[in-house]
């Protein structure tokens, strides 16, 4: 068999896969590991729909090669909830209707999680600039910002 053998950790689980050199992490997640939560909106790192967190850093998985996952710690949307308890961000997105079609939502949740891990009490401006790497075409961002503000408040009290 040809291909590059990769060992990595995804959402806390040890995972092994084979991939071609040119496959992106996004390709691997979606096509080899059946983790289709990350979406391809553009393939060029402009829309953020493929956002995942690699070694604590928010990245566009379409700009990371599958092989680069070797030895790293990867978090995807599939690992955000704990069992059947939604993460506060997920719950607040639902409550505030911060999604309409929902295609950008996994990427936004990853980006918001990353933002709030760095800034616990962000201003509206910090939220807006912190999420500027994620495109949404349905909502106009208003309810997304409100959901993040509310989730941040809940997380600060926890």
């Amino acid at each position: 068999m040809s291909g590059i053998a990769v060992s990595t950790t995804i959402n806390g689980d040890e995972v092994e896969f084979l991939c071609q050199a040119e496959e992106t992490l996004l390709d691997v997640l979606r096509d080899r590991l059946e983790l289709t939560g990350a979406k391809e909106g553009c393939g060029t790192g402009d829309c953020g729909a493929c956002s995942v967190i690699v070694d604590g850093r928010l990245v566009c998985s379409c700009l990371v090669l599958g092989a680069e996952a070797e030895g790293r710690r990867i978090e995807t949307i599939e690992g955000m909830a704990t069992g059947d308890t939604l993460h506060p961000l997920q719950a607040k997105f639902l409550e505030h209707a911060a999604l309409q079609c929902g295609i950008c939502t996994p990427g936004f949740l990853m980006a918001a999680k990353d933002l709030l891990s760095r800034i616990r009490d962000p201003t509206e401006e910090e939220i807006r600039f912190g999420l500027a790497g994620n495109l949404c075409r349905c909502t106009g961002y208003d309810k997304i910002v409100r959901a993040v503000q509310d989730a941040a408040s809940v997380m600060r009290r926890a």
């Binding site: 071609q20 040119e22 390709d27 979606r30 983790l35 289709t36 939560g37 990350a38 979406k39 391809e40 909106g41 553009c42 393939g43 060029t44 402009d46 829309c47 729909a49 995807t76 949307i77 599939e78 955000m80 909830a81 939604l86 997920q90 997105f93 639902l94 409550e95 505030h96 209707a97 999604l99 309409q100 079609c101 929902g102 295609i103 950008c104 939502t105 996994p106 949740l109 401006e125 939220i127 807006r128 600039f129 999420l131 500027a132 790497g133 994620n134 495109l135 949404c136 075409r137 349905c138 909502t139 106009g140 961002y141 208003d142 309810k143 997304i144 910002v145 409100r146």
Partner: protein
Amino acid sequence: MTVATYSARDFKSVGTRPLRPDGVEKVTGRARYGADFNMPGQLVGRILRSPHAHARIRRIDTSRAEALRGVKAVITAADLPDLTGGDAGLHDVLDNCMARAEALYDGHAVAAVAAVDARTAREALKLIEVDYEVMPHVTDVDEAIKLESHVVRQPAPHSGVDPELDFSANLVKTTQYGHGDVEAGFKRADVIVEHTFKTEQTHQGYIEPHACVANFNSDGTGDLWVCTQGHFAYRHFCARLLGMQVSKLRVTSSEIGGGFGGKTHVWAEPVALALSRKAGRPVKLVMSREEVFRASGPTSATSIDVKIGATKDGIITAASATLRYTCGPYPGGWAEFGAQTAFACYNLENVRTVGYDVLVNRPKSAAYRAPSAPMAAFAVESAIDELAHRIGIDALDFRIRNAAREGTRSSYGPTYGPIGIGPTLEAVRNHPHMKAPLGKNQGRGMACGFWFNFGGQTCTDLNIGADGTVTLSVGTVDVGGSRASLSLVAAEELGIPYEQVKTVVADTATLGYNDTTEGSRGTFSSSMATIFAARNAINVLRERAAKTWNISIEEVIWEEGHARATGAGHGNLSLSLKEIAEAAPNTGGPVAGHSEIVADGAGVSFATHICDVEVDPETGATRVLRYTVIQDAGKAVHPTYVEGQFQGGAAQGIGWALNEEYVYGKDGRLQNAGFLDYRIPVCSDLPMIDTQILEIPNPNHPYGVRGVGETSIVPPLAAVANAVSNAVGVRLTHIPMSPPRILAALDAQKAG
């Protein structure tokens, strides 16, 4: 006979804001969109596209591609025989799916492959040899209409009324609307404003590229998993083009990652089915972002001349517009929509609009949320602002003075009944946004917008489970949360909690025909069908209770989720929905209600927007400071999702107004086919978007619901343009008002 007239009531469920039924799947990444589905043994499909804006296809040699190991099928137009039977419109669809003789735009599909993996498919595309004879091209609407222009297609028959001047064969449709005598009207005017406005082509910009998995079996049956706004429409087109019986093609709508009109037409789906047919295996075909921009359906680019005259008291005496819209390489009726809607907000004695649909070597124009209306509104509302300014009347007062009302003869013909534009203008007058102070380099603009709303063929099935919970199957694809709204409606009619209803979108094999989710019809139509289905189910429930109690059905009413016996001697007989459902096996079987209707009489919709901007005079960059949407929704079934529609439409309009455009090179190739250079608004570009929902009931819907999805994209181009023009003191006439355009306008003003 079901009668869809409004009757007032106190709502218990409708109007509340519960969580949507598909929500948890979407925030956990489990929801399955077009590209999230796979079939065993599936192949990867990829499409080869023309790099030329216009070229004759002399020959295609696929032999080397076919010989590549791992390639299971290669197709060209030869593999899609013409089954259109002389239907020109259908033939255009076929030709757009795969070019038959000429590539008509940069990105036009010319061949396709199905291979075992992506790498092989990519290599196979490179091995297909296409012998092109490059031809001249034209991409600009004003160039294409000139008599001397290169012709995009021959033959291109002209339809509509006679154009008054000599134009090239690229003019394929001329339409005209209006009434009165505009010449006489202009003579009476004290002030006349006349301008030409241009808007560049934009794309709906849905984040999810077109994606499908197609399976064609050798016995003529097939399956299609696809992201679409209308799976029944897709079934119709795919079946026609592939010669399949409609009942044998089962189309399942995935969750959809945005459509806004762009997913109401087929693009690559017939190609995927044709590949599957040839390969004998399922084919997954996903467009790249670049392909979406180059080869799906952006909206028209336009060039619009507007002339409006008014007395010094601010009453419009005459209004006219000539609207030139691109339709891509195939005829369309886009300018007609512009001609109909341009002056629809106003009460005019004399009005005349002429619309010209023009062929250009660009991808086929498709609907984009209130198609054609935003551009026309931009031109008219800019001229209105200018006229008000020249006369010395406040922009809002001028509009109130001239606004259409009940009894106004609309600019597109019919006389208006009760309409909502007056209330939206009054609401603007009273809105705190209008009183907020403005600083240096800041400007405020407002604009009105109009859109038709539509009904259409709609089916719903309401099935009651043995535990008394309800499944509602609908056929209108859920683009923005309508499953929540429809569950609320079912809960309302049945008198049960929202949490006991689950709404699902059925596939084409499990429900009757449903028109596409467009024309702001999703909630309007399906809620109407849901109400009737629920009422039919209630009749069955009453009948079962009557049978159980051995009384006549006339003595049973349905109230708050219970069958209750009325009349003397029946005491307090009462059965809950759950009790009747549990007993159903012995009272006649499963309990259900169905409805197949043509929802109609959706009524028209008006909105007024207010926008504050700040323009940096050194860079020409515009920042939107504040934005308010005021629109009549009839009855907001789920107010949060109505707000969402208002905000989303406004955001798209803001992007269109300030930055989005298709940029074509001299070679006729699209220069910015990606989200980096086709820049839609990001989170940091926008402020919070305030919304005010007016509820003036629609007399033709039981709950008064109106369509809401589209109208909110109509005013923003003009609201932003008026704000920018006020901020910089120069009338901007070219959309998008990107920084270079604003700087050029400022420079021109300084010079001239």
